[in-house]
Symmetry: C2
Subunit: 202 residues, 2 copies
Amino acid sequence: MANDTKERILAAALDQFSQKGYAGTNIRELTASQGLAKSSMYKHFKSKEDIWNALLDKMIAYYALRFGSPDHLPPIPDSTDELLSLTMRMVSFTVHDEKIIKTRKLLSIEQFRDERARDLATKHFLTGLTDMFSHIFAGMMEKSLLREDDPKILAFAYTAPISALIHLCDREPEKQQTAMAQIEAFSRHFIKTYGIQQVSPM
Amino acid sequence: MANDTKERILAAALDQFSQKGYAGTNIRELTASQGLAKSSMYKHFKSKEDIWNALLDKMIAYYALRFGSPDHLPPIPDSTDELLSLTMRMVSFTVHDEKIIKTRKLLSIEQFRDERARDLATKHFLTGLTDMFSHIFAGMMEKSLLREDDPKILAFAYTAPISALIHLCDREPEKQQTAMAQIEAFSRHFIKTYGIQQVSPM
DNA sequence: CAGTATAGTGACCGGTCGGTCGCCTGTCAA
DNA sequence: TTGACAGGCGACCGACCGGTCACTATACTG
């Protein structure tokens, strides 16, 4: 019962902070959304800031678990078609997962106020995807699926535009379909530019 | 005297809103930063929200003036080297201009709360640069400086990564030099991929 | 010179904020 | 059975918030 309450408060905090920011959120509303009295919250957290820190801890831990370890790297695609479908699957996931959407929104809002939010924002928005695709592209170059080139620059050139459109989906959800189509078009264009035509074995 | 005060209040608002967000900013501090009493502000604006709206009006008008009209489009580069230098000049400007930096930060913070901020954010972060470079790239293709291709996709592929690094500069100013070097490296890589070697005339 | 806006001030207001306190209830171990 | 404790509650607190108001000083205008 009780431990569940703590989690529910954190979930409500993610919800409200990602909509109205830390400063714009008040504890009465936050607790009321979980059917709790404001004072009950203080059985689980020392202060409003304590909620913030616990939430950030959780987000950082989740990111490290989900994207930080090399175990979770996807397998290297065996064709450029697979690269496309891998990309679309990842994008589709990240654009639809409520928790991750809220995390990105929260980081957009709070990145200039909190140092740890700032660092996590850079990982979410830039280095995370780039590092992952550096690894993927290096592997694909070894398999002669991509032109020999600097995998880091290529990964950056590939992921930054995709990331920009993910941001657009967060900002204007009604453009999600268009954005997904744009991502697919961009990915195909990228593959046409950097991919290597495989000769089908006899 | 008086008209100047109104402008100074707006400047202070841009300053504070871009650091602490709308909700996190209070009027006492804002006016005090300009050596004014809180009540004096109400001679110039009806309410806190009125400041917000006036500031947003101003930012929208400034954007339309500066980037909206076709008159302000840069001339089409005559070589890929010129494309590189044009890019670096534009980036250097946008990364150093305090007012524009604060505008981007403010839009990052408030894009999910205010519809007009949301729209302006999309222009600043995505469509503005893309549209401009669509025009530039179309012109360069006509001059046979770039491979024939869809100028829109190329512009998107060019500007989105640059935009991502501009965001990085806003978030972590200490990485500005590194980011600028990355932008230059990326631009050179892009030109190597899509540029056309010009034969020097005899 | 008198009259009237304009811009600025400090005292004040009601409401809301984060946070505390005493109290109650259910659980569970000694 | 009882006593300690965790979890939840409403009442309350001081601080701070956005906003108002009566008042003043200055500058412009008939």
